[in-house]
Amino acid sequence: MTTSRPAILALADGTVFRGRAFGAVGEAAGELVFNTSMTGYQEILTDPSYEGQLVAMTYPQIGNVGVNRYDVEARRPFVRGFVVREYRHVPSSWRAEQPLGDYLAAHGIPGIEGIDTRALVRHLRDHGAQEAVLSTADLDAERLVRKAKDTPSLVGRDLVREVTCREPYDWTEGPWRPGGAQTLEQIVAATGKRPLRVVAYDFGIKQNILRNLVEVGCAVHVVPADTPARSVLAMRPDGVFLSNGPGDPDAVAGARENVADLLGNVPVFGICLGHQILGLALGGRTYKLKFGHHGGNQPVKDLLTDKVEITAQNHGFAVDPESLAGRAKVTHINLNDRTVEGLEVEGQPTFSVQYHPEASPGPHDAAYLFRRFVDRMERP
């Protein structure tokens, strides 16, 4: 059996959990949130939307399938620290290439296991997500609580800056399939249609969004978050995509203005942070949720079809529907708490969703939205 090193998770409100360390030796600070997905920890770890956050998994056995090179959402993991009930060191999966702990260690991410994660989750649920420090180095609980208190909150911070790409790039790979991913070339060859040119704003984009866009026949050009609207329009795209990303939508420099400039000129599709920014660009407001939605089982109702889709979600902020009255239509709502899950700008080929149709991890129920985007581009 592995010899265990101690680790501490200290919350800003003074709550302390003592457990065992795995992953990197070190310390990580950030907002602590919990995720209720039972599968897909690798996708979660590599989702840039988690920039600035520590994640606690509600499912207790983590590490079961190790990590592999395909199940990544970005070039590296973004979660700052990882909290689990029991870490499984030896993976069992034909796809596994490395144990999870080794991967975290290689990326400098500390983990803690052996704590009562359910008690932690109940605490966060009742008292709200909050700043915390996970440490496998400094084991002085009081000091860690102080550090947690000193950790800046997400509100008002532009985290997109930390995660967006520096240079534009093209993406041409389709989603993972048991037999291997397809390329844009193969996909286009099969349909015989000309690829649609999509410019994707990278606010911290998940690669599975890119893969899904490719799958529906889009040639995607990814641009940094601060790319001016006119440069984008100059590329004469068929549509513009607004990606997911970390933190407070209100703090993303220039995004609101850029998006406002795009509106009316090109079909726009936004996901998660992209959806919130669209809301802001339309003149609406966003607010912070108590502990957000992080998981793969959130029921969302499509108000047009009255049907429910089970969705993957990962957000701490939401769009205030009242603030948009008359400017956009709410198309989707969350059935758990009735928050806004989708918007459409009437008379324009522009829409957005708060949740993640690209899933990864999570169910594929909402994948139709990528086709809807294609429809909007083809019949603006």
């Binding site: 030896v90 993976p91 999966s93 359910r118 990864s360």
Partner: protein, 1073 residues
């Protein structure tokens, strides 16, 4: 859409008797469905032949028909009740098949009955394997290569195409009956023959064997708006090749990446849509190649199933209840999640614990049966456990099984060869052998190579064994809080730790408590704590965080359930536990249920105020009692499981209510019971106790052969035998005494040809009221659980009955019974002998309650909390004018090579009830309900030993009178002819062809009456009984049962039987009382 306003009356079909592959889970689903439909204001008409169910309680449905599940009966019920709709998806395979048959027979069209939930074509697309495969291919899903055959020739052609090994399965069966692997051509041909026979439509599927692949199940729900959710994923510990019902299974799936899981989820969603299940739950099984990830579809069950019950208990999502609501028009988003209240039922539960189910087998009942596990289900029950980690969950499940295991006990006697074999060939004890393999130094890779079990699972076992090894040489005192926490978090029981540390369980508990190492309770809340939970459905775990049990200050009673189903202890006990919870709740108590059987109604979080899904061990129960501090604990309803804990609980200061543990002991302990009988001047068969072989001979010779011998203190007649001479006694003693060295053997004089009587009574400590007197059809010597019986008695006279009543009342008074009591008597030459007294709930309580129309268990529990019988208005025995017959149902067909003869060892898995105005009618219904289609014409084969010649003559005469031809073996035939009955001769098997077996196989016999006696006769006649069983020819192994059957046949030949609702029968009993 809200509920459909165009429907008023809905017919629900139950699943009939408990058989292997179909157990209490359908009572759970059926009860939920009935409740859900009535909640919506529908009038519910229910048909189910199984009296031991909550669903057949007269309060569960508006109209309850305890009648055989046949098309004919269904049509009569439909004609009488005129339902607009039929819900076919909650009564298991039986319910589904019956609905299909009724549809095919045109009954549903004739009366304008609509199938809701699933339509005929959808059911067929799922059930017909060929059709199913075509549908899967059409939506681009992969399958094992296969073909369908209706004859040996067709089968051979398919074999040539796909090669060996293959798996052969019979269409339209349950529990995998007829499924077999064939690796050689001989095996192939043999299995083809078996499968064609086992399939009710003579069809088999031949399929590429993918044994060793990983096996998964998804529980899927769909509503009328085409919303689909996955309620739960389940991964099998035992890979493909072992029926999921016989596999250890774990929820959620553990070894899939999200990419793979979502591929499977997409497939499941596509499947439920393609099959076209309109609304409700389905179970879909998949296999995944461990090295390549290739995923194939195995099957879909378009209905609630054993797995959906497990999934409901594993997640807190009540699949059957929701399915019922969806069937009448609701959509998932319109229904609430009961547990969170705020959120809708349209979501996918997420769980923050690990659930392990381990099947419960009873191979000890069928020594001739092979305990190898395969695609045909053999287990009779299951235990489920919840833990925060795999290790905790697994070890909790092991100690929940009630097989005397507290964890990974070693198997030191296994030779290396045995060990290798036990690993490679799936069997009931494989888990423990895996532990043993690690103990002997095998690596995970080695064990994985032999068992093909995923290394992820094996590693947990390896870690547990390594932890055990690390305790070698340690003392209890040397373990500090830290160490104990770690051990308890891994799920080690106090008992196992005691064994490892060489101390007692009490010492381990004391040390733990001294160090403050106590379990906390967490909630099963469907949502991983994301929302607040309002339903206290709890499990224990060792976490140093918070406890969610929140004991109330109300008056509360803990009810201990019965644990996993097994032969001898089944649904009847769960029924009693549920009734006590319902009654106490009605009376304002807080009710707390403890049980670990996921199939049951008792583990529905709706049944009691609080549910602890926990093993029924001293440790686990004490922890709950300590947390909750109830006013009383009830041990007398859950069968032997809680009873075994009674004394220890009482010693630990737990308030046991009702009959005292001491009184129970006075009834169970032979010597003390003798004192009771002597004091009352009651008689029992001469008997003695032997602690050695020599002593046994002395005792047997004193009391006279034949004797009935058995080890002490067992339920269900385990290892019980009738011994006719000294040589057999020696043989038995050598076997039995080795089986349990420290326990003595009990010896009774065996009363030959005695009538057996069961009596259920209830007492408040002062008054005693007889619930019912049941006369067995089979003579004493056939276990009471296995013999048919009639209420009221059909042959014994009033005087003897009065004597029986007097004795039962005297026993209840002497034992100061508060609650239920069951007595078994034998009547020989009008003398009444007491066979045994069980001062607790018995198997017959639900049957009696349904026969007389009063809920005995509820009455009893009220006595236990201090309400007198007088106050409850139950002061005298009710003797109905109608006759109720109970018949047992056996699993023989699942165990090739096993004899079907009945004896003192209980072998039945379930029971049915037949109710009619006459004994013959009730018996006929019971037979039909039990699957014995009594013929009304044809030839009857009779072969009985000389001592039965006289008794069989009236039976033969009666059958001849109906028009049956008689065929008999030499001796019997001569006797029949001497009595003036024309009987054809047929050879015994040993006498050469054409013989009896040929006759049966050719279909020339419609009925078999064959009573063997003596070892030789048993051996000779075995093929007769087995062939009759396999050829579905009704057979009777006792003259008594044959006589009853003859009466029934006579009645059937005269015309059809009527149907009547339980509510009407009860109204009449009440009116005449």
């Amino acid at each position: 859409m809200p509920r459909r306003p165009d429907l008023q009356t809905i017919l629900v079909i139950g699943s009939g008797p408990i058989v292997i592959g179909q157990a209490c889970e359908f009572d759970y689903s059926g009860t939920q469905a009935c409740k859900a439909l009535r909640e919506e204001g529908y009038r519910v008409v229910l048909v189910n032949s199984n009296p031991a169910t909550i669903m057949t309680d007269p309060e569960t449905a508006d109209r309850t028909y305890v009648e055989p599940l046949t098309v004919d009966v269904l049509e009569r019920i439909i004609a009488a009740e005129r339902p607009q709709a039929l819900l076919p998806t909650i009564g298991g395979q039986t319910g589904l098949n019956l609905a299909l048959d009724a549809a095919e027979a045109g009954v549903l069209d004739r009366y304008g009955v609509e199938l809701i939930g699933a339509k005929v074509d959808a059911i067929k697309r799922a059930e017909d394997r060929d059709n199913f495969k075509a549908t899967m291919r059409a939506i681009g899903l992969d399958l094992p290569r296969s073909g369908v055959a209706h004859s040996l020739e067709e089968a051979e052609a398919i074999r040539c195409e796909i090669g060996l090994p293959v798996i052969l399965r019979a269409s339209r069966t349950l529990g995998g009956t007829g499924g077999n692997f064939a690796t050689t051509e001989e095996e192939f041909r043999a299995h083809v023959a078996w499968g064609l026979e086992a399939s009710p439509i003579g069809e088999i599927l031949i399929e590429e064997s993918i044994a060793g692949w990983k096996e998964f199940e998804l529980e899927v729900m769909r509503d009328g708006k085409d919303n689909v959710v996955i309620v739960c994923s389940i991964e099998n510990f035992d890979p493909m090749g072992v029926h999921t019902g016989d596999s250890i299974t774990v929820a959620p799936a553990q070894t899939l990446t999200d990419k793979e899981y979502q591929t499977m989820r997409d497939a499941a969603v596509a499947i439920i849509r393609a099959i076209g299940v309109d609304t409700g739950g389905s179970n879909i099984q998949f296999a995944v190649h461990p090295d390549t990830g290739r995923m194939v579809v195995i099957e879909m069950n378009p209905r609630v199933s054993r797995s959906s019950a497990l999934a409901s208990k594993a997640t807190g999502f009540p699949i059957a209840k929701i399915a019922a609501k969806l069937a009448v028009g609701y959509t998932l988003d319109e229904l609430r999640n009961d547990i969170t209240r705020e959120t809708p039922a349209c979501f996918e539960p997420t769980i923050d614990y690990v659930v392990t189910k381990i099947p419960r087998f009873t191979f000890e009942k069928f020594p001739q049966a092979s305990d190898t596990l395969g695609p045909q289900m053999k287990s009779v029950g299951e235990a489920m456990a919840i833990g925060r980690t795999m290790k905790e969950s697994l070890q909790k499940a092991m100690r929940s099984l009630e097989i005397g295991s507290a964890g990974f006990e070693p198997r030191p006697d296994a030779s290396p060869e045995t060990l290798a074999e036990r690993l490679a060939v799936p069997n009931a004890d494989r888990l423990w052998y895996i532990g043993e393999a690690f103990r002997r130094g095998m690596t995970v890779e080695e064990v994985a190579a032999r068992t093909r079990i995923d290394p992820w699972f094996l590693r947990h076992v390896e870690e547990i064994i390594a932890t055990e090894a690390s305790l070698a040489g340690r003392t209890l005192a040397s373990l500090d809080a830290e160490a104990l926490w770690a051990l308890k978090q891994d799920g080690f029981s106090d008992l196992r730790l005691a064994a490892l540390l060489g101390v007692t369980e009490d010492q381990v508990r004391a040390r733990r408590e001294q160090l403050g190492v106590r379990p906390v309770y967490k909630t099963v809340d469907t949502c991983g704590a994301e929302f607040e939970a309002f339903t206290p459905y709890l499990y224990s775990t060792y976490e140093r965080g918070d406890c969610e049990a929140r004991p109330s200050g109300r008056r509360k009673i803990v009810i201990l359930g019965g644990g996993p189903n097994r032969i001898g202890q089944g649904i009847e006990f769960d029924y009693c536990c549920v009734h006590s919870a319902l009654a106490l709740r009605e009376d304002g108590f807080e009710t707390i249920m403890v049980n670990c059987n996921p199939e049951t109604v008792s583990t529905d979080y709706d049944t009691s105020d609080k549910l602890f899904f926990e093993p029924l061990t001293l440790e686990d129960v004490l922890a709950i009692v300590e947390r909750e501090r109830p006013e009383g604990v009830i041990v007398q309803f859950g069968g032997q499981t809680p009873l075994r804990l009674a004394v220890a609980l009482e010693r630990a200061g737990v308030p046991i209510i009702g009959t005292t543990p001491d009184a129970i002991d006075r009834a169970e302990d032979r010597e003390r019971f003798d004192e009771v009988l002597t004091a009352l001047d009651l008689r029992r068969p001469a008997n003695g106790i032997a602690r050695s072989e020599a002593e046994a001979v002395t005792v047997a010779e004193r009391i006279g052969y034949p004797v009935l011998v058995r080890p002490s203190y067992v339920l269900g007649g385990r290892a019980m035998e009738i011994v006719y001479d000294r040589a057999s006694l020696h043989r038995y003693m050598r076997m039995a005494v080795r089986a349990s060295p420290e326990h003595p053997v009990l010896i009774d004089h065996f009363l030959e040809d005695a009538i057996e009587i069961d009596v259920d009574a209830v007492s408040d400590g002062t008054d005693v009221v007889i619930g019912g007197i049941m006369e067995h059809i089979e003579r004493a010597g056939v276990h009471s659980g296995d013999s048919a019986c009639s209420l009221p008695p059909y042959s014994i006279d009033a005087e003897v009955q009065a004597d029986i009543r007097r004795q039962a009342v005297a026993l209840a008074r002497e034992l100061r019974v508060v609650g239920l009591m069951n007595v078994q008597f034998a009547v020989k030459d009008r003398v009444v002998y007491v066979l045994e007294v069980n001062p607790r709930a018995s198997r017959t309580v639900p049957f009696v309650s349904k026969a007389i129309g009063r809920p005995l268990a509820k009455i009893a529990v009220r006595c236990m909390v201090g309400r007198s019988l007088a106050a409850q208005g139950f002061t005298q025995e009710l003797v109905p004018s109608h006759v109720s017959v109970k018949e047992a149902v056996f699993p023989f067909i699942k165990f090739p090579g096993v004899d079907t003869v009945l004896g003192p060892e209980m072998k039945s898995t379930g029971e049915v009830m037949g109710i009619d105005a006459s004994f013959g009618g009730a018996f006929a219904k019971a037979q039909i309900a039990a699957g014995t289609a009594l013929p009304t014409a044809g030839r009857v084969f009779i072969s009985v030993p000389p001592e039965c010649y006289d008794a069989v003559i009236p039976v033969a005469r009666r059958l001849a009178g109906v028009g049956f031809g008689l065929v008999a073996t030499r001796g019997t035939g001569a006797h029949l002819r001497a009595a003036g009955l024309p009987a054809e001769h047929v050879n015994k098997v040993a006498e050469g062809s054409p013989h009896t077996v040929d006759l049966i196989q050719r279909g020339d016999v419609a009925l078999v009456i064959n009573t063997p006696s003596g070892a030789e006769s048993f051996r000779d006649s075995f093929p007769i009984r087995r062939t009759a069983l396999e050829c579905r020819v009704p057979y009777f192994t006792t003259v008594a049962a044959a006589a009853a059957a003859a009466q029934a046949i006579e009645l059937l030949a005269r015309g059809r039987l009527g149907v009547e609702a339980l509510q009407d029968y009860h109204r009449r009993v009440a009116a005449t009382a």
